[in-house]
Amino acid sequence: MASDENRDGAAAAEIAPDEAASAISAICGSRSWPADQIIAPGWYHLSLGLLAGGAIAEAEMHSWVLFAWSVAGYTVACGALMWMNQRRAGVAMKYFDARTRAIFAGHVLTLSTLIAIACWLDLDRGTRGAFLAAGVLAIPLTVAFGRWTDKLLRARLHAGQ
């Protein structure tokens, strides 16, 4: 700490390249900490996947009331999970840039396609278990898209963007 205080008074008249290089190295080290923190734990994406899968699989019951409750529950639980994860990480950042937005759009599109196929199979073809299968498929897909987003966020933090 003494070195910090000494610097306050000094005019930084002469900064050696070695000192500047070590300062840049310290900056890189500092960035890696929040970058590691931002990686969500395994339970986070799995929980989001289970919520999405549960909401889709629940359509197998053919009950509009249950469907409405599951959508409301899914929304509230996702919000709570995201809040908990942000509290855990201790940092807040803009999650969406061009690439993460594209991944999110891909995730939504994939789940929408799964639901559309399940609707066609169940309602048009009368295939039982279509929503259940779609729900089960939604779990690993949500985990994969979530981890992909984490990877991009981590790279962005390391780059200091």
């Binding site: 610097r7 002469e14 900064i15 390249p17 500047a20 929040p34 201790g90 807040a92």
Partner: protein
């Protein structure tokens, strides 16, 4: 877009440089998170935060949640500009093999 190099004595202090580096990468970070990242005591971090706050480089937000006060920190626009300029100055020092005399303290009266 490149930032004009501008050495900043306030930011150059090692701990303050690390604080700015962390905050530059995020919108805001909690006090405890920054303290853990730096591995310093509360009092040490508070002192550096006060210096940066007095220079208008960081904002301190306090929120009460479940009867606990949570303090979060974020860089101001001026702080971000000063940090970017300082990093550019450091890079130019590394590139040019040295830096002599022309540093200035942002926010201080011109000499």
């Amino acid at each position: 877009m490149s930032t004009a190099p501008c050495f900043d004595e306030i930011i150059h202090a090692p701990n303050r440089l690390q604080i700015c580096a962390i905050l530059s990468a995020v919108d805001s970070a909690e006090f405890a998170t920054v303290r853990e990242s730096l591995g310093v005591a509360d009092s040490v971090l508070s002192k550096h935060i006060r210096v940066l706050h007095e220079a208008s480089y960081i904002e301190v937000h306090k929120a009460t949640c479940a009867s606990r006060v949570r303090t979060s920190l974020s860089l101001t626009e001026a702080g971000r500009a000063a940090y970017d300029g300082h990093v550019a100055a450091l890079r130019s020092i590394v590139g040019n093999g040295g830096y002599r005399g022309s540093s200035r303290r942002r926010g201080a009266p011109a000499e």
